[in-house]
């Protein structure tokens, strides 16, 4: 099964003293969408959410996600540890009623430890398919200079009439133009937003999830296009006196 993603959104749930069950926040972007995977952001990889909040530091086996199927009303419980530890994206493949879905804390013996920390989940939507084929892909380089909180990709005129398939982040020592590129330890505070002409498609996704070479099962876009002039990398850094360069390759057909 191959996941073809039409979008994704980062969702923050800030934990409160004594509360073990949390309704998911209202996410109109996910209305009617087929959720095919959820990622739990581990504090080691993503120490702060895209809004700068401290990520829940405990093991994911303390968390459970209860997703309600919008058609049947039935809820399915998923251990977030299973989601995190799965070598591939788990397959949910259902339309979810966010208003009746919940995040639950389990084994909560010391509530003060998580007080004011935030669980950061990524909901991916699109389709799963057994029949995904593409022919004769093309591959292009993309560099993003990070020197402010919000850093836009450069316009990609070479992408006109091309359909994006995969965006791949790597850590070469230098970019093709000879500039020093950042290493992996510096991506934990970077978040990627990809847009088309009208709307955000992938919103505040940790850059970590674009290191495609580390995934057992890669994921692909199911999009007619991406407007790179409206797409950007957010950085949570405090000091921008020294620019950082992120290097991507884009596969397209």
């Amino acid at each position: 099964m191959t996941g073809l993603m039409r979008g994704a959104i980062g969702v923050e749930i800030t934990l409160q003293r004594g509360q073990t069950s949390y309704r998911l926040p209202d996410m109109p972007e996910l209305e009617g969408k087929q959720i095919i995977s959820v990622n739990y952001c581990n504090a080691n990889d993503v120490p702060r959410t895209s809004s700068g909040k401290i990520v829940f530091p405990l093991s994911s086996d303390r968390l459970e996600l209860c997703l309600a199927d919008i058609n049947t009303g039935m809820t399915c419980k998923y251990s977030v540890a299973d989601i995190e530890n799965s070598p591939v994206h788990l397959t949910f493949d259902q339309k979810v009623d966010m208003q009746t879905s919940e995040l639950a804390l389990v084994n909560s013996d010391n509530p003060d430890i998580w007080l004011d920390t935030t669980v950061y989940l990524i909901f991916w939507y699109g389709i799963n398919t057994d029949n995904f084929q593409f022919s004769k892909p093309r591959i292009l380089p993309l560099e993003v200079t990070v020197n402010s909180p919000k850093n836009f990709f450069q316009p990609q005129f070479t992408l006109l009439n091309s359909r994006p398939l995969q965006l791949m982040l790597t850590f070469p020592g230098f970019t093709p133009s000879g500039r020093k590129a950042i290493d992996r330890s510096s991506v934990s505070d970077k978040f990627i937003t990809l847009a088309d002409k009208d709307k955000m498609l992938f919103s505040q996704i940790p850059a970590y999830y674009f290191i495609q070479s580390h995934l057992k099962t890669p994921w692909f876009f199911d999009l007619p296009s991406i407007d790179f002039e409206k797409s950007y990398v957010k950085s949570l850094k405090d000091d921008f006196s020294k620019a950082e360069i992120l290097f991507f390759n884009l596969m397209c057909v």
């Binding site: 093309r138 380089p141 791949m168 580390h214 390759n249 596969m251």
Partner: protein, 248 residues
């Protein structure tokens, strides 16, 4: 669906990457008019160091993150530069990991117009890497519904560089169609197979240890076992288990 890559032919080239900023031509790759399926680099890691089956030199450990940069640029026979500055972090297969992006090219390549762009810091050493190019030359046969049998042997290396002729270990397979290669983990060597119509040249055994959709299979092939070898190329003296499946 992304499936394991079924290898019909694979050619092996040793690539030396000097320090500094360089453009390394791929014009010496004699695969014009072949339908190219994929291109990968192969690198040792610090934990699993291998010797090249071509020269016997150590295969360099190309770190996943800095300080070296290698970019692949490919032009096809229609004169389209269709792979531009593709970072080696995506197409390098490391000797003990599956950290790479599986891909299919499906084009004929003008190798004279194709090259690697490399930036290696002066304080680093010259790199010695292996490049693998998978290609097709005959129509594929689908034998997936046929019953197969298997034979497993244990190989015990006694030297850093040692070649095991497959005919010695699998003599009963001489007229059979081989359908699969399976290896134990940390199998630190290379398969060099001569088929009737195809060639798998010095393929790292690690390719067949990758257990995911990114892994590699072989297309069913009759092999000249007397000319085919498992080439051990490491300091390890651990015994290896190799299984071949074949049509009875």
């Amino acid at each position: 669906m992304i499936m394991p890559h079924e290898l019909q032919n694979i050619a092996c080239f040793e690539i030396t990457v000097p320090i500094g900023t360089n453009v390394i031509s791929l014009g010496h790759i004699n695969l014009n008019n072949k339908l190219i399926q994929s291109v990968y680099l192969f690198s040792s890691t610090e934990d699993v160091m291998l010797f090249s089956p071509v020269s016997g030199k150590q295969v360099s450990a190309l770190a996943e993150t800095g300080p070296c940069a290698i970019y692949l640029n490919l032009t096809d026979t229609d004169n389209e530069l269709f792979v531009r500055d593709y970072s080696s972090g995506n197409f390098t297969i490391y000797s003990e990991m599956d950290h790479f992006v599986s891909w299919r090219i499906n084009r004929k390549i003008d190798w004279n117009q194709s090259f690697l762009k490399t930036i290696i810091p002066d304080k680093a050493s010259t790199l010695n890497l292996l490049m693998y190019i998978a290609f097709e030359n005959v129509a594929s046969k689908d034998l997936s519904d046929r019953e197969v049998v298997e034979k497993t042997v244990n190989l015990i290396p006694e030297n850093d560089i040692q070649d095991f002729c497959l005919d010695v270990y699998f003599p009963e397979l001489s007229d059979k169609t081989i359908t699969g290669i399976y290896v134990s983990n940390q199998c630190n060597g290379f398969f060099d197979l001569y088929g009737q119509n195809n060639r798998l040249e010095n393929v790292p055994a690690h390719f067949f240890a990758i257990k995911s959709s990114k892994g590699f299979l072989i297309e069913p092939m009759k092999v000249d076992l007397k000319k085919s070898f498992y080439r051990h190329r490491s300091f390890s003296r651990e015994p290896y288990r190799i299984t071949l499946t074949y049509l009875p």
